[in-house]
Amino acid sequence: MYAAPTPHRSQHAPAPLEPPVTSTEPTPLPLPDTAHQQLIVQLRHEHEDALKALYDSLSGVTYRVCLRMLGTPEDAQEVLQDTFVRLADRADRYDPSRGTVRTFVLTIVHHLCLERLRTRRSRPVREHDREGEEAFDLPSQAARDPLDAALVQAALTALPDTDRALLEDMFFGGYTHAEITARTGLPLGTVKSCLRRALLKLRERMLP
């Protein structure tokens, strides 16, 4: 059965890689987005120091996304590198009306990670690669007794963490709605509703 995962870790997440490191390095203070925007302007005009300042400010969250999506430090470091090289090349595409610099950078890294995930998934899957993954796949809804299926669906959609877990599957796992449907057995409409609820809940955190 599709058990609801812990709130901040979907069940499709890669196995834990390494324990979170408590760095002895001082954590750089987060810069306000106006500072990021000013650095983008400088980067457009090839001020290399601006790229370093953006890296210092945003590499932490970028690396975390890479690790979460790709699962190995090697891949994560490569994509972290590619992200900031691409940022330097495409700084002129940043449009403040479409979001913060931080989201611009996260959009780049998310896109690069998705590319890798899709490349991986298009390769033939070896048997041992599937170990641990079978537990995440459910038999399709149609294969189950209709009453059981209805009960499962009702239970799942009532779980508060399910919405969030599905959103994380989509965002970090790179799964399409149809793939989530196939993996969870939930109808497509239910998946879309859960994703929407989860997004609106996150939206409540934003101001205004």
């Binding site: 901040h8 979170p20 490191v21 408590t22 760095s23 390095e25 954590t27 925007q37 000013q38 650095l39 983008i40 302007v41 400088q42 457009r44 005009h45 090839e46 001020h47 290399e48 790229l51 370093k52 890296y55 590499s59 932490g60 969250v61 690396y63 975390r64 996304v65 690790l67 979460r68 430090p73 470091q77 972290l80 590198q81 900031f84 090289v85 330097a88 403040p96 009306s97 479409r98 979001g99 913060t100 931080r102 989201t103 996260l106 959009t107 959103l167 994380e168 989509m170 965002f171 970090f172 709605h177 879309k192 994703l195 929407r196 997004l199 609106l200 996150l202 939206r203 955190r205 934003m206």
Partner: protein, 236 residues
């Protein structure tokens, strides 16, 4: 005027989640082109979606990637063909004689003599000015809204322009150049072309109908805050 009912507010979360069918998606796309309020809401929803990253556990960033980025950037710049249009900052660092050259070019253009320099500096500057003029640069005067000149612009047919300001920006401030299109989806939206703490900058004007200059805090701004004026480019 747009009525509130016309806003596809209910569709925006699904738009961000790519849950809409193609027709609905196109409807929202079309609406967003003309609705700033909905664009802001879409931006907020995107921010919300990406805030998932905020809840990931802290992990120390290894040192390797930054060194690799530096190495990759160095390789790229070494392999890149010599650009006919290096950035202002690079040009100023490599050729510190440029401000003088441009100033001399301006003096030649207006027929005045207020600057005394070394012989070699003058010769270099004159050569540069001649070089620009020989390449068909056209001189335009940069004027404020009330008609006061604040600099000059040499416009070359190859899409490059040299802007020469009459005086240096105040300490802590820079001049920033902006290009604007007169029509199209980005009509009137200023795009940064370059900035300088000195009096000269070389910019690319291709694709714009006018070039303006503003005074900005050091580091520049994303949009002009203290515009000096805008000059229409000759039609090519």
């Amino acid at each position: 005027m747009t009525r509130p009912d016309d806003h596809p507010t209910d569709l925006l979360p699904d738009y961000v989640l790519a849950s809409l069918d193609p027709d609905q998606d196109m409807t929202v796309d079309t609406h967003l082109q003309s609705c700033a309020d909905c664009r802001v809401e879409v931006a907020r929803l995107r921010e919300a979606l990406f805030s998932l990253a905020d809840d990931l556990p802290a992990v120390a960033v290894p040192e390797g990637p930054w060194k690799a980025i530096q190495a990759q950037r160095s390789r790229s710049s070494a392999q890149a063909p010599p650009s006919s249009a290096p950035s202002v900052s690079v040009r100023l660092r490599r050729f510190p004689v440029w401000p003088l050259a441009a100033a001399i070019a301006l003096i030649m253009a207006v027929g005045g003599y207020t600057l005394v320099s070394t012989r070699s500096g003058v010769q270099t500057a004159q050569a540069s000015a001649r070089h620009w003029l020989a390449q068909g640069a056209r001189l335009l005067t940069l004027t404020s809204k009330n008609g006061q000149p604040y600099g000059s612009m040499y416009v070359r047919p190859d899409g490059r322009a040299l802007l020469v300001l009459n005086k240096k920006a105040a300490p802590g401030q820079v001049y920033q150049a902006w290009g604007r299109q007169a029509s199209g989806p980005r009509a009137g939206v200023p795009t940064s072309l370059g900035l300088t703490g000195g009096t000269v900058m070389e910019v690319s004007w291709r694709g714009y109908d006018s070039v303006g200059v503003s005074i900005e805090p050091a580091g520049g701004s994303l949009a002009p805050t203290h515009p000096l004026g805008r000059t229409r480019l000759p039609e090519s």
